[in-house]
């Protein structure tokens, strides 16, 4: 993440248009909207209002240029922009100059001639197509007329150089468009009686250049300084461009908000956790291979096809090409763990990775031992939430809010304390024993962190917030962990849906009769589209709601430097 600095400048009213124009050409600063910050200045600054006639004039000139292009039957093109002479510093002067130059162009007479050519032509063509002996006297006269008009047209095309006029019009159009953007940007500034005050964000590397531009545009008549972002001040964020295989995850993350300046950007972590959670719910070696192959094919096409030319759906598929490969690989991995090949067909046997207390990691078929699966799902959920809480701790330290640092620690304690209680005493059904026999344990593992959470939040924010937060955390820990139960539910749904087609096809103990192949093919297509979409959305939901809510604010603003389009 690149460092941002804040540029602060005071310039004379007469110079401001040129300053904005020069900065816009360089395209390195993002102006701060001063209108929202005027209260801080207690009346010393007032909003800088650009006169309404400036924008009216811009619109008027643009529509006149458009009309001229149309009257001459010229193709509209990309508006050109040429640096205006330094002696015309102000928008009003530039616009007046444009108006004068527009009036000088011989548009009206040219338009008349071109109408003459285009309107008479069909009639004359018709007459000249008649047989010679049927041509009347009038016809001959009209033919003479046509010759004259043809000559006229040629003289217009060659003599007055329509192409040059088109160039001129496009240049004027570009100039007006730039002035319009300049006056729009100036609407964000503040002013005193004679001077304009503005602030702008700029990348640390570009700071010197930006200051030099302002100095040059004002001829040195300016006050200019810079400072780093104040603590807690909102600043735009410039992220490093993500590698191509992360672009899809970037899109998914930024849909819920842009990371703020001192926040961990969760995209690289999500590129690992997202396929993992997807794979648990979509565990299948066979379909995983198809997914990965599809991803590989799309990656190949991505290099061949231009993204802009593709249709909406194709573009989504192409952007997420690499993501499909990752999702497929994860599905293959978990397919081996849960022993699924196009459903629980019996070809593969589940592989056991390990066992932690009552939590089995692999080594069972989810369809036949759902209780093991739900414990596994809860364990994965606890790990995922813990990752979120560790990131929260990291963020608080990075923001130097040390008062809040103990909160995620106590939260982690509560989460794992609760989980240990749950597994040690054999589930929620024996909750009476939690209180009767495990009283000390309950106090140490659940009540103590909860009290600490309330105390620490109370220190950081106030007593009432502390109690409210304590209740919220307790409910959230419970419901969010339980929500990972969907890993089991959707994993089972996946097995069951495939199993239905296996039964229809008559597959038994890993033996596929030839007749079953088309049925399984249909089933696979159905499952991969419908079920794949559902699993995908649920994975997304687990990240957005259960995971992001722990550490991600998404309140950042992307750095968009002011630049002429």
């Amino acid at each position: 993440m690149a460092e941002m600095r804040k540029l602060i400048a005071i310039v004379f009213e007469d110079d401001v248009d040129e300053v904005v124009r020069s900065l816009g050409e360089a395209g390195i600063v993002q102006f701060v909207d001063m209108r929202q910050k005027l209260d801080e200045w207690k009346g010393a600054l007032t909003p800088h209002t650009v006169p309404a006639q400036t924008s009216t004039k811009c619109t008027d000139l643009l529509s006149r240029i458009d009309a001229s292009l149309k009257a001459l039957n010229l193709q509209p093109g990309i508006a050109r922009y040429e640096k205006v002479e330094i002696k015309q510093k102000q928008t009003e002067e530039v616009l007046a100059d444009v108006e004068r130059r527009l009036a000088e162009l011989p548009i009206e007479s040219l338009a008349k001639a071109s109408i003459l050519v285009t309107d008479r032509k069909p009639l004359l063509d018709k007459i000249s197509a008649m047989p010679a002996d049927e041509q009347t006297e009038i016809g001959r006269r009209l033919l003479d007329l046509r010759r004259i008009v043809d000559m006229e047209r040629r003289s217009i095309e060659e003599g007055t150089k329509l192409g040059e006029i088109r160039e001129d019009l496009l240049t004027l159009q570009g100039t007006v468009k730039v002035e319009r953007e300049v006056s729009e940007a100036e609407g964000k500034f503040a002013r005193t009686a004679k001077t304009i005050y503005f602030e702008a964000w700029v990348l640390d590397d570009d700071l010197k250049e930006a200051m030099e531009i302002v100095r040059k545009a004002t001829g040195g008549n300016c006050v200019i300084t810079e400072e780093p972002a104040k603590h807690g001040e909102k600043q735009p964020v410039m992220l490093k461009p993500a590698p191509s295989f992360m672009q899809a995850f970037e899109k998914l993350t930024f849909s819920s908000g842009y990371p703020s300046a001192r926040e961990v950007n969760p995209v690289p972590i999500m590129a690992i956790t997202f396929p993992m959670l997807f794979g648990i719910m979509f565990a299948d070696v066979g379909q995983g291979v198809i997914f990965a192959a599809l991803g590989g094919l799309l990656t190949y096409f991505k290099r061949k096809i231009k993204l802009e030319e593709a249709g909406d759906i194709v573009r989504y598929l192409l952007v997420s090409a690499e993501m499909f490969i990752l999702l497929g690989l994860a599905a293959i991995f978990w397919g081996f763990i849960f022993g699924e090949f196009f459903g629980p067909s019996g070809v593969l046997h589940p592989m056991k990775l390990g066992r932690i207390g009552p939590f089995y990691i692999g080594g069972f078929e989810p369809m036949h031992e759902p209780m093991k699966m739900i414990r596994f799902a809860i364990l994965v959920g606890a790990l995922h939430i813990s990752l979120g809480l560790v990131l929260k701790l990291f963020n608080t330290i990075r923001e130097r809010e040390f008062k809040r640092a103990p909160i995620p620690v106590a939260w982690l304690w509560l989460l794992w304390g609760g989980l240990i209680m749950w597994s040690y005493w054999g589930g929620i059904s024996s909750i009476s024993r939690w209180f009767a026999e495990g009283g000390v344990m309950l106090a140490g593992l659940v009540l103590a962190p909860l009290v600490l959470l309330v105390v620490f939040t109370a220190i950081a924010e106030g007593a009432m917030e502390g109690i409210g937060f304590g209740v919220e955390v307790f409910a959230e820990t419970l419901s969010h962990t339980l929500s990972y139960g969907r890993l089991m539910a959707l994993g089972l749904v996946h097995s069951v849906m495939n199993y239905l087609f296996l039964v229809l096809g008559g597959v038994e103990h890993g033996h596929f009769p030839p007749m079953s192949i088309p049925i399984i093919a249909i089933g696979t297509i159905l499952v991969m589209i419908i079920e794949g979409l559902i699993v995908f959305v649920h994975t997304l939901r687990l990240h957005w709601i259960e995971w992001f809510s722990k550490f991600y604010s998404g309140e950042g603003i992307p750095f968009k430097p002011f630049k002429f389009t």
């Binding site: 849909s255 819920s256 908000g257 909406d312 989504y316 759902p370 209780m371 739900i374 419901s479 339980l482 929500s483 139960g485 969907r486 539910a489 959707l490 089972l492 749904v493 069951v496 849906m497 239905l500 419908i530 079920e531 979409l533 559902i534 959305v537 649920h538 997304l540 939901r541 957005w544 709601i545 998404g554």
Partner: protein, 151 residues
């Protein structure tokens, strides 16, 4: 209590566990799908985000399918009225859970779609209503599951 045939009770449980969730899913899809179609004509770029409402609605039917399937596989064990009632309860739990979730997704989803069309940046906070409604179905599913486990 009226004494019923255990087998018939089991079938009623299956009827409930697949019937009500599909109706809930249909309600959610009908309400959100039509709202989406309206927004799609104006702002098609939002559809990829809004599709979450329809997909979460559709998932309700899948949960019902899962429970119905588990109940069918337990049908041979339903010889006594006690086991049959457990099956019936499992069916009612998933029916109520998905019914509640379907209502929640329909209301919160259609409002989410309308609000997002107006102000796309409000999406990330408004979507919480939809996903929390959907969580209700998951709770029902988990409990229904545990009840089936005791058959």
């Amino acid at each position: 209590m009226i004494m019923l045939d255990p087998n018939l009770t089991g079938l009623i449980a299956i009827l409930l566990s697949i019937g009500v969730p599909t109706i809930s899913a249909a309600t959610a899809i009908i309400v959100c799908g039509t709202a989406m179609a309206g927004v799609g004509t104006e702002k098609p770029e939002l559809l990829s985000r809004l599709i979450i409402t329809v997909v979460l609605g559709e998932a309700l039917a899948i949960y019902g399918l899962l429970i119905a399937f588990m109940l069918i596989s337990k049908l041979p064990q339903m010889k006594t009225m006690e086991t049959a009632f457990r099956a019936l309860m499992a069916g009612i739990i998933i029916a109520v859970g998905t019914g509640a979730a379907g209502a929640g997704i329909s209301y919160a989803g259609s409002s989410l779609i309308g609000a997002t069309a107006e102000r796309p940046e409000s999406y990330s906070s408004n979507v919480i209503g939809v996903v929390l409604s959907e969580a209700l179905a998951i709770y029902g599913l988990l409990i229904s599951f545990m009840v089936i486990g005791t058959i």
